[in-house]
């Protein structure tokens, strides 16, 4: 029996996702409503899959932090830059489950080239911290004024790092053409 043309065309894509044990993937525009809906979907998915409470909570938390970072910082914005609320920006987020049952949370979005340097420095510093140092930095930052240019509290990465099993991994892929935006990748193991 010949394979249906649909299965031929799209089967490999779905198979690839299955092989990579992707349990959630979204690429597109992120808004507060979209993130809230996705968070609900992820929460339900994890509950139904029987994932333990503490892990579900950490995944939910990291997911929100990463998704809201996309809303606030992605260089691909539909809304004007001075609009502080109701923002719509482009990125992607992916949750994979490893064979040992542990989870990987990945996100990617273009960023303004001038912010890449500062971001790299911040994440490099984070990578060199022990869990105790991360918790201490978290407590300290909680008590300080929010940093310049931060739309949240400047605590998003610390929050994810505190819950992760390993130091956060990140990468910057240079823009394809001159004047374009590099793409920022972040990976958290939970």
């Amino acid at each position: 029996m010949r394979a249906s043309p649909i299965a031929e065309k799209y089967g490999p894509f779905l198979d690839l996702a299955h092989q990579h044990q992707v349990i959630f993937y979204y690429v597109g525009y992120f808004s507060q409503n979209i993130v809230a809906a996705m968070a609900e979907a992820v929460k339900l998915q994890l509950e139904v899959a029987g994932v333990a409470g503490p892990t579900r909570r950490k995944l939910f938390s990291a997911f929100i932090e990463m998704a809201q970072n996309i809303i606030h910082y992605s260089a691909d914005a539909l809304t004007p830059p001075n609009q502080g609320n109701g923002e719509l920006r482009h990125g992607s987020v992916c949750i994979r489950q490893e064979s040992d049952g542990q989870f990987l949370l990945l996100c990617a979005n273009p960023i303004a080239p001038e912010t890449a340097h500062g971001l790299r420095a911040k994440l490099d510093a984070l990578r060199s911290m022990t869990l105790e140092e991360i918790k201490l930095a978290y407590r300290q930052t909680l008590r300080e004024e929010a940093p310049e240019g931060s739309k949240g509290a400047g605590m998003g990465f610390l929050t994810v790092a505190r819950d992760a099993r390993e130091p956060l991994e990140f990468d910057f892929v240079p823009a394809e053409n001159a004047g374009g935006s590099p793409v920022f990748y972040l990976k958290a193991a939970l």
């Binding site: 609900e40 503490p54 909570r57 929100i64 932090e65 930052t141 949240g152 605590m155």
Partner: protein, 129 residues
Amino acid sequence: MDNLYIAPTPSSPEVDFRFDAHRLSLRGESYPENAAAFYANVIAQLKTYLAQPQEQPIDVQIALAYFNSSSTKMLFNLIEALNEAAQAGRQVDLHWYHDEEDDTLFEFGQELRDDFPALRFLSHPVGPT
């Protein structure tokens, strides 16, 4: 002054500040798009209320199932304002509700208790519903 009520949404909490009854409640989820903007008015009104010369004890109920990083900071500021009132002599009871399986919520409650000793901190672990 008028009481403050903000209806909950899927990503922002119910704010039910009954200033006339000295009962303040925060309940639900907190991950609004812009936490600073959401809580700015809440904290401002709280401070106006706390500045009034009153002696009745304040009963504060916080039952948040989740709060994102920016909400955490705003919450901290809010409770700091309550602590200042307590330091000035007002009795403030803070009822902190947390899922008994959620370490993060429990630990944050402990931090509040340790950082703001003027408040009377009451921890309420909540079992599965």
